[in-house]
């Protein structure tokens, strides 16, 4: 029994209205209270407020009806087809194979109408608003569920024989180191820099002048208090960090990685190894000289979870990194060999160094020029330029990418901290090579990869040679006749 184009059960209208009410109850109540207090129950203001509220809900009702009217779904042999949208018409087809789970949930209201809510979860993105059928007749829902559950996605073969438990814990000493070297302090300096910027932008206000005046007149007090404030805030952030990461334990058991941490607030996360999208190794600017790294794991979620980037281990010695990765993650996520060697990764061409200097140096120069003009201590701004050039140099030196065994992709880049990303080719959702006008003349490009669950993590490399960029794309396009990866 396959269904034709159908609409949701009319009760869906009620459900969306309930949702709107739920979302707007709080502000509406606030409005009413303030109007009541301010103008009274029988005032004209109150009158208008009531009118507006009624109008608002009337509009919401109409919109809900239209939305219900426009929403169609049909259960087909090999997938679910949906059409929706009020102003913009959207058609979507969710193939059988993409459907991970079909969840049926019901609320009290659902029982009234003998309906349920059907949620269809696919890997990666959350389709709540479209793949979710808010209210469907119970029998129909059961049918949908069984229809799609019959053919589950193929299981990938886990070829890691290492089934023994592996446990990594963070000891006291490392906990302390982690807490004290974390980049939280950076915020403090940004605030200071912000004050400088503010003064530049509002010269008449002369924030800095006021500040210096205040400092001068209360010099002793400030000199006494300020360091204490700084130290205290640092101590608090260290304590907070320690509480968060106390008893950090990473355990590999079966097909999952289990992470637990926290003292006051205990958190436990299970990450299915099969859902790992990529591993990120970050060497912060303070930690790197001491040989410490932080490992993050990027995983794709099930259903509503958009996937996340979680700390796999907060502080690890670089020397132990290889064996750590070997005992926790599958082959395609590991670093093998020394990446610092010049010939390990495909590096940026020489001219990219100059280009990066321009790219970072020019804005810094402009900022410095502005600062010299406005600030009394203009020479500080020249440090700015030097800083920018240093960043340019190190970001050039550390940048690179490589492909091993035709499958494992590694990319390393640096802005302040050095980040290395490792993932197998099949976890790269799409690959891009971009070239700006500026890059066109120098025959350089930017290569970029998209990985599931990493919105906001910038996996791009700027300044890659044009030919290399195309060979990267070429590698990505190459396909085997059968995928036998896991």
């Amino acid at each position: 029994m396959m269904s034709n184009r159908q609409r949701l059960h009319p009760s869906a209208i009620i459900f969306s209205i309930i949702k709107v009410i739920k979302d707007s109850v709080f502000p509406v109540i606030i409005f009413f209270i303030t109007t009541l207090a301010g103008s009274g129950l029988l005032s004209t203001r109150m009158f208008w407020l009531i009118i507006v509220t009624i109008a608002f809900f009337a509009v919401m009702f109409i919109v809900a009806v239209i939305r219900w009217y426009r929403f169609h779904y049909s259960v087909e042999e090999d997938g679910l087809r949906i059409e929706y949208g009020v102003l913009i018409r959207n058609k979507r087809f969710i193939p059988q194979e993409r459907i991970q789970t079909v969840n049926l949930t019901e609320t009290v209201f659902h029982r009234l109408f003998n309906t349920v809510k059907v949620e269809i979860d696919t890997a990666g993105s959350s389709l709540q608003s479209e793949g979710g059928l808010t209210s469907i007749n119970y029998e129909e829902a059961q049918y949908i569920k069984s229809h799609f559950s019959n053919q589950k996605a193929k299981h990938t073969i886990d070829n890691e024989e290492n089934s023994a438990d592996t446990i990594y814990t963070l000891n006291m000493k490392d906990l302390l180191i982690e807490a004290s070297t974390s980049s939280g302090m950076g915020v403090f300096f940004i605030i200071i820099a912000g004050i400088f910027q503010l003064d530049y932008m509002i010269p008449t206000f002369d924030l800095l002048g006021i500040l210096t005046g205040f400092i001068e007149s209360n010099l002793k007090l400030v000199l006494f208090v300020l360091p204490i404030v700084v130290v205290l805030s640092w101590v608090f952030s260290v304590i907070g960090s320690m509480l968060k990461n106390a008893n950090f334990t990473l355990k590999k058991e079966g097909n999952n990685l289990y992470i637990s941490r926290g003292l006051l607030e205990k958190r436990e996360i299970a990450i299915p190894i099969k859902r790992i999208q990529a591993i990120r190794v970050v060497e912060g600017i303070i930690r790197q000289p001491f040989g410490f790294v932080t490992v993050y794991v990027q995983s794709a979620g099930y259903g509503n979870d958009l996937g996340e980037s979680t700390v796999l281990f907060p502080l690890l010695r670089r020397k132990k990194l290889y064996s750590f990765l070997e005992s926790t993650v599958p082959k395609h996520f590991r670093i093998e060999g020394d990446l610092d060697r010049n010939d390990a990764l495909v590096r940026l061409p020489r001219r990219s160094l100059l280009l990066k200097c321009i790219r970072y140096g020019v804005p810094a120069l402009l900022m410095a020029a502005a600062m010299i003009y406005y600030l009394p201590w203009g020479w500080v701004s020249s440090m700015f330029v030097l800083f920018a050039l240093a960043i340019a140099y190190f970001s050039y030196k550390d940048a690179g990418w490589m492909v091993e065994e035709g499958n494992r992709f590694t990319m390393r880049y640096r802005l302040l901290s050095r980040t290395t990303i490792i993932c197998p080719k099949y976890r790269i959702q799409s690959a891009h090579v971009n070239q700006s006008l500026f890059q066109r003349r120098s025959r350089t490009t930017t290569i970029l990869i998209l990985i599931a669950g990493s919105i906001g993590v910038n996996t791009a490399l700027w300044g890659v040679d044009e030919q290399e960029g195309m060979s990267f794309l070429h590698w990505f396009q190459a396909h085997k006749t059968r995928h036998t990866d896991s």
Binding site: P95, S125, A452, Q477, D485
Partner: protein, 159 residues
């Protein structure tokens, strides 16, 4: 080196982009008009007004005439059995490869402007985000959508 993708998008895209460009360029005129009013009532530095006028005109011309044309000339796409290949961009040329295996679902959408010209945009979603092919005729858009949908299901996948 692989050649660029072949297919072009619908020519009427130009119209849509021009209209959108016209609307956007109104913003460029704000400072100019603002300054002219300012100059009218208070009035000094008249030459700035002329400068702004020229600037807005140039920007408007570029937004309505030049950029849509370049954008249209550059936009290419190609659907093969194994991947979707895109090339687009005005100031930054972007090349994208989306393996068919990674495609989760395909939609077609039409905003009001597109609908007026009988065009639609194809949106391809992967686990990491969406990509789009703008302004294809409805018929072509549907074909493309169906084709990608077909190919995506046939392709071997693991997530």
């Amino acid at each position: 080196m692989r050649p660029d993708p072949v297919q072009r998008i619908n020519k009427k895209a130009l119209n849509v982009w021009r209209i959108i460009g016209a609307i956007t360029s109104l913003i460029y005129w704000l400072p100019t008009v603002g300054y002219i009013l300012f100059h009218y009532f208070i009035g000094f530095y008249g030459w700035i007004g002329w400068l702004l006028l020229i600037l807005s005109s140039v920007l408007t011309f570029i937004t309505i005439v030049t950029i849509p044309k370049i954008k249209w000339l550059r936009w290419r796409y190609e659907i093969t059995e194994h991947e979707i290949s895109l090339k687009y961009g005005v100031f930054i040329i972007r090349r994208s490869i989306i393996p068919m295996v990674r495609v989760q679902h395909v939609d077609t959408t039409q905003g009001p402007f597109l609908r007026y010209y009988g065009l639609a945009t194809v949106m391809i979603s992967t686990a990491a985000g969406s990509h789009e092919i703008p302004a294809l005729s409805i018929q072509v858009a549907d074909e493309v959508r169906n084709r990608i949908s077909e190919l995506a299901r046939v392709a071997d996948h693991d997530v």
